[in-house]
Amino acid sequence: MPKEDNQVVLTMRGICKQFPGTRALNHVDFTLRKGEIHALMGENGAGKSTLIKVLTGVYEKDAGSIRIEGVTGEAKIHSPQDAQNIGISTVYQEITLCPNLTVAENMFIGRTRSAFVNWQARNKRTTEILESLNIPARAKQELSRCSLAVQQMVAIARAVDMQCKVLILDEPTSSLDEKEVEMLFGLMRDLRDKGVAIVFVTHFLEQVYAVSDRITVLRNGELVGEWPVAELPQVQLVATMMGKSLNDLESLELVGQKSVGSEEVVYEAENLSSTESKPFDFSIRRGEVNGFTGLLGSGRSESVRAIFGADQVTGGRVRVKGKNVQIATPHDAMKNGIGYLAEDRKRDGIIADLSVRENIILALQVLKGFFHPMKREEMEAFADEYIKALQIKTASQDTPIGSLSGGNQQKVILARWLLTHPDYLILDEPTRGIDVGTKLEIQRLVLKLAEEGMSVTFISSEIEEMLRTCSRLIVMRDRNIVGELTGDQLTQSQVMQTIAGGKQ
């Protein structure tokens, strides 16, 4: 239960932050109280992460004041180090750990004052934490060898382990499983009951209502308002975030007709296997939308990586439109009309220093070959088209993609693949970190593409989203296909049951 104690821990008043071409924050106020979980909501690019980074000293604010309980006058926070020292611990949206260090080091680096490192104590303590939080990693493991979910959990564990009075979680659940999300919520509630104030950012609305006590909504860098959860039902929250009236929302919910596709098989694999996945059979028809589901680590991503040749393919026969072909590399796949949006945009997707335009053009350019450069006007036209179609929030085409908000980066990558007009498009978590409105847009887009004859494989950790778009769901467990659901079988409970292996 939320504490009735209304003691204010943190106040931010009139915060402004200007980036070249973007007014990220415009006189934003934010108040955080002791022992509450405070959801910070807003569409992609609304300024949530920027507000957090201003608070933790990653960015210097242009104007405004920040006050912290226990510090008289203005809080002096000019670096994340300062923030940590006065009791603010943060999990940033993009995982900010060092890939070349071990899990244990990532847990403790930057936190101790002692000039020497006690490896034994560090590893022991880390092992304890990992075990108590059920994180499947070892203390001495190099972080780069951990999955994205584990990295996220490690980042959370690190933040939680610090004795803090303010805990900030910027989209911590975007790459987590339901089970892990539950565990995180448990942790958050415990901390709240101990009096820690928690800021929670997410695009999953159910999660907001599951744990939060209060909601602050930002839109276009401006504060819309602050409400106790009870006073802001879900529909109204969506409306406030998007700046639309409730009536406008009605039409939004309609996504479209699911498509089972025609008879023509576009892609077919027999006994396909890779270094990361066990042999499996799979086929998809023209205009069909199918999905792979299963818990994290069930092999759903690995399977599609094998299809695309992103992992080393070790065996199997592949036919594309009836013709035997060999797909050993992503380039082979692309030449055969297959596109693949990778799960981990930071590792396999964005090239942070290149502009939005260049990132959009990239896949098409690869397909054409680098010796056939595209005309500048052509590239600009393409980029414009997709920036508009996907409502990508960017100052200009020339903005480096690294400076876009997380959700908008994801949209750019999506645009990259749509631009190549593949026959078969694989989308692995395309809606990660994307706000509700755009999520629906993307679902709608997928169905529209399917109608036009594109085959799509759609993977998402949100089963609901898959149920809405896919006409066929392939269920995986322990790297094996354990079921295939179509038609009437496509219900939440049936899917859960199949994932769990028949036992309820």
Partner: protein
């Protein structure tokens, strides 16, 4: 807290070697192979003294290889080390000729302090410019190199500055070696046994101490670990609460101090005396040694044990070429080049075989790296 205590699996798992450890082990292995082959094929190699010759002569290279490894781990580069060695030798020689201190201990100590001081000043200046004004390290240290060499020329007027045989410092370094009869050669002539003991110069010991010391610093201190972190991902390190600027500054400071020490060690072995050509291109050898030892130019990976092997691999190579009768310098340069090429290709093959099974270039060879 959800106090779920899963049954403690007491599986003592053997942790997979990290890429960095593997690269170090490879460089050590290559050294052993190379030295073994030389022992088999070249008669003259079969004396312990040959090994000591290598470590004695290349002790300064070992030290600056450490110096470069430290900055490279932090994601930087320092090409002023050769210039600093040269300047150190010049300033120390001028000092020895003019100070008039008779007390040997005092003189040696003073010279040592001057050498370290010059290195520290260069390190601190370069570090400050690079880390607080955020100027490219390559540019700053290139400037540092020209500055050091220019100062050397100005101070000496372009002339060599010899230090006399009777200077207490020269007398001190004449005795700065350990004779090991057990490892020497014996010769019997006219019934008399002549022992020609192996000579292990103090500089080798200093170099080894430096390697071990820096290894410990990089492994067990906050500074060392922070250096790995900023080299691995600067932005993340910042967010993890590391003082990135201070850490980076310290890597250059340490690097500078080691360059000064390398200058002192150079004088200890080669005799005091300033020349404008000292340490020419040694920074390149040091970079090569670091890379051969498994340090990545992109930062975050490497260790000084590897760099030690890297330096003595280069040394051994020179010796082998020397004994093969190819005494021209260009042979040695070419051998170094080929060696470096082989290593880089091998590193990338090894790393890619361990990776997802695909050939990929090492991160730092790629056009667009990092930002991860």
């Amino acid at each position: 807290m959800t106090a779920m205590q899963p049954d403690l699996k007491k599986k003592k798992r053997f942790e997979r070697l990290t890429d960095a450890q593997l690269l170090t082990i490879i460089s050590g292995g290559i050294f052993l192979l190379m030295y073994g082959a030389a022992l088999l094929l070249i008669e003259a190699f079969r004396k312990p003294q040959v090994f000591f010759d290598i470590t004695n002569y290349y002790s300064y290279l070992i030290i600056i290889a450490c110096s470069l490894t430290v900055v490279m781990i932090g994601g930087g580069i320092n090409i002023s080390v050769g210039g600093v060695i040269c300047l150190t030798c010049m300033v120390c020689s001028i000092f020895l000729n003019n100070c008039g201190i008779e007390n040997q201990t005092l003189l040696v100590l003073a010279t040592f302090v001057i050498a370290i001081g010059i290195g520290a000043i260069f390190g601190a200046f370069q570090g400050a410019l690079i880390s607080y004004l955020e100027i490219q390290p390559f540019i700053i240290t290139l400037g540092g190199m020209f500055l050091a060499r220019g100062l050397t020329t100005i101070l000496s007027g372009g002339e060599n500055v010899p230090v006399s045989e009777t200077n207490p410092f020269t007398l001190w370094i004449n005795n700065a070696a350990i004779k090991i009869p057990a490892l020497g050669t014996t010769r019997v002539r006219k019934g008399q046994v002549y022992v020609n003991p192996a000579t292990l110069h103090w500089v080798t010991i200093i170099a080894v101490v430096v390697v071990i010391g820096i290894y410990l610093v990089m492994r067990f201190t906050k500074f060392g670990r922070n250096t790995y972190a900023i080299g691995g991902n600067t932005q993340s390190s910042q967010m993890l609460g590391i003082n990135v600027k201070l850490t980076r500054f310290n890597t250059y400071l340490l690097s500078g101090v080691l360059s000064g020490l390398a200058g002192f060690v150079f004088m200890m072995f080669n005799g005091a005396g300033g020349k404008t050509g000292i340490g020419l291109r040694s920074e390149m050898d040091a970079i090569a040694a670091s890379i051969i030892g498994g340090t990545l130019l992109s930062g975050g990976v490497g260790n000084v044990i590897g760099s030690f092997f890297g330096a003595i691999i280069l040394g051994t190579l020179q010796k082998i070429i020397w004994f093969s009768g190819l005494q021209e310098a260009y042979w040695q340069d070419m051998a170094n080049g080929v060696m470096l090429g082989i290593f880089i290709v091998m590193q990338s093959v090894v790393l890619s075989v361990r990776g997802k099974g695909k050939m990929h270039l090492p991160e730092w060879l790629k056009y667009s790296k990092k930002n991860r």
